[in-house]
């Protein structure tokens, strides 16, 4: 029986780390630890002694790990996934998902693969979530500015809400712009003129 694998997640984003942790936690024979900041990284890694280290690609501290794993006598020296390039599709998938893995030499591939698969799918799920959130925020902002532009038009031109919206939409169509863009220029103009 193989001993439990220790996975270390280094991620400044607590939500993403939680999503990944939750995914890995269900796997048997895994112990997952998460650290968000990299103060005293070497000492902390030495204590945790992980078999696999997962770090997001937006984290500049990747270069800190590279050095640490090369020279340190205190940690087990996990190495970047690239050392075993036999599965280049997996490597590309992980870079696309925005995560990189460091793996202690000699670990069996069949033990690593499910962990990486899970990591990649959770990172992708997080990106989708973030994208949806950004889009929702943007839509909210657009809605707000359109409402303000409508109010300005209603007041200045003494028209009702429907007419104001129709005016905005027609203008946007004629100029080949988004309604929110026309609305933004109306709001800006009104601010300048007041």
């Amino acid at each position: 029986m193989d001993k439990d694998l220790k996975i270390l997640i280094i991620d400044e984003n607590p939500v993403r780390a939680a999503i990944l942790n939750e995914g890995l936690d269900g796997t048997k024979h895994l112990r997952v630890e998460w650290i968000s900041d990299t103060n005293n990284l070497l000492e902390r890694i030495a204590v945790l002694d992980p078999d696999v280290v997962l770090i997001d690609l937006e984290n500049p501290n990747r270069d800190v790990l590279e050095q640490m794993f090369q020279v340190s006598r205190e940690v087990m020296r996990p190495i970047a996934m690239f050392v075993d390039q036999s599965d280049s599709a997996m490597i590309t998938a992980s870079v696309d998902a925005g995560v990189s893995a460091y793996i202690v030499d000699g670990l069996k591939k069949e033990r690593i693969k499910p962990i990486l698969d899970m990591t990649i799918s959770r990172f992708n799920a997080f990106s989708r979530l973030r994208k949806e959130l950004d889009e929702t925020k943007e839509q909210l902002e657009e809605r707000k500015v359109i409402d303000r532009a409508k109010a300005i038009l209603m007041q200045q031109k003494k028209i009702d809400e429907n007419e104001a919206y129709t005016l905005l939409r027609r203008n946007a169509m004629n100029k080949g712009k988004k309604i929110s863009e026309i609305a933004t220029s109306i709001v800006t103009a009104a601010e300048l003129l007041n």
Partner: protein, 388 residues
């Protein structure tokens, strides 16, 4: 569109860069239209770590990249990664690295007899400080650099060793990403660092640190960054590569023209480039940074072998005839010369077999790297255990 051909849209080259001033030739090639003039669409991606640059080049997400001078060498030798054939036809920058220490530590070094701007005198003062700390049982001092295969790493080690300090045992050498350097110095997590500009100038401007030495004072004038790429990509796209080299070469000359400094600083300071105050960039440009081959910024074969010697000296790899030949083929100045059609006065493909190093010691003979390293009293290369 009636024509089925796509020949109307220029070929795209994907380039990765780290937000440092010596990414200027790539950024300028795009922003000032030099790439477009050569019929190339340059797509730039800013990265946060050298490890990302290496990985994205390896899996083909980038065609070319702004790289530390040692990175293509480490790739060819397979140090810390799988062996992958990498070349560098041109250098992107020279100089601009400096060793910066906290203001209080600067004063201490002067108090211990260090003469300002004198590398060996300051190094000996540092040695006295370290010896005193050892006697008093104090913690090791910590210096930071940016990557295992960076000139910063080798420059610090070279200066320490020339001053009688063993970088493996007398102090701690760690990696900190450049944007975190000034903060770490301010927080007292490090006592000094070696990093590229603009971070030394920012530390000075913010009164957090003082520049102790410029790298040009301690190190042979080799390239700091190079334009690296997979050999396979270069071979499969030789015309495209030649066009890119001409564009980046023109951009480098533009960036070195004093008349363009203000505009250069303005372009580099933008949000999608370095995202720092243009005034910091302007002060950094005063510190002896150069970009163009007209100012001696070249990827010469002897520079690669000098870096290889550092890798061997500090135990990152072992010396062998095979390794020597791999390194010798890494920098390809001939590709730049062919692309621009201009030969330099001395053929840069010729090796300058030996040169004197600025901080003394035996001259560096690239045909006898083992002999050079054996002459160094402070070193950690394994090969020397078996040396006669």
């Amino acid at each position: 569109m009636t024509s089925p051909s796509l020949s109307s849209s220029p070929p795209i080259i994907r380039a990765g860069f780290i937000p440092l001033i010596d990414s200027a030739p790539l950024i300028i090639a795009k922003e000032k239209g030099f790439a477009a003039d050569q019929g190339v669409k340059l797509k730039l991606s800013r990265e946060v770590s050298w490890a990302n640059i290496r990985d994205r080049i390896n899996i083909g997400q980038f065609d070319v990249a702004h790289m530390l001078a040692g990175m293509p060498i480490a790739a060819n030798l397979g140090i810390g990664q799988i062996k992958s054939k990498m070349i560098a036809p041109m250098a992107l920058g020279r100089g601009g690295n400096a060793i910066t220490v906290s203001r209080s530590f600067y004063d201490r070094l002067i108090a211990m007899g260090g003469a300002p701007k004198d590398p060996l005198s300051l190094g000996h003062a540092l040695k006295r400080v370290l010896d005193q700390r050892k006697i008093e049982g104090e913690d090791l001092l910590t210096f930071a650099m940016v990557f295992p295969f960076s000139n910063h790493n080798y420059q610090l080690r070279y200066w320490f060793a020339a001053s009688g300090i063993d970088p493996e045992n007398d102090l701690r050498l760690i990696v900190i990403p450049p944007p975190y350097m000034v903060r770490s110095l301010e927080a007292g997590q490090v006592d000094g660092f070696c990093v590229g500009e603009p971070w030394n100038s920012i530390a000075t401007d913010q009164k957090v640190g003082k520049i102790l030495l410029q790298s040009s004072q301690i190190w042979p004038a080799g390239p700091e960054k190079v334009l690296g790429m997979q050999q396979a990509w270069a071979e499969a796209n030789s015309d495209l590569l030649a066009a890119l080299l001409r564009a980046v070469d023109t951009a480098a000359a533009w960036a070195d023209d004093p008349a363009n400094k203000a505009e250069l600083a303005q372009i580099l300071s933008r949000k999608n480039h370095l995202e720092v105050d243009p005034n910091h960039i302007l002060s950094a440009l005063q510190n002896g940074m150069r970009f163009s081959r007209q100012n001696g910024v070249k990827a010469k074969k002897q520079d690669a072998l000098w870096l290889f010697a550092q890798m061997v000296r500090w135990g990152q790899t072992e010396h062998s005839k095979e390794a020597w030949h791999l390194v010798e083929k890494t920098y390809r100045p001939d590709l730049l010369e062919n692309a621009t059609g201009e030969k330099s006065e001395t053929k840069s493909t010729d090796l300058e077999p030996a040169f004197t190093t600025p901080l003394g010691g035996s001259p560096f003979d690239l045909n006898d790297i083992e002999g050079y390293i054996r002459s160094c009293t402070i070193r950690s290369g394994k090969i020397l255990c078996n040396a006669p």
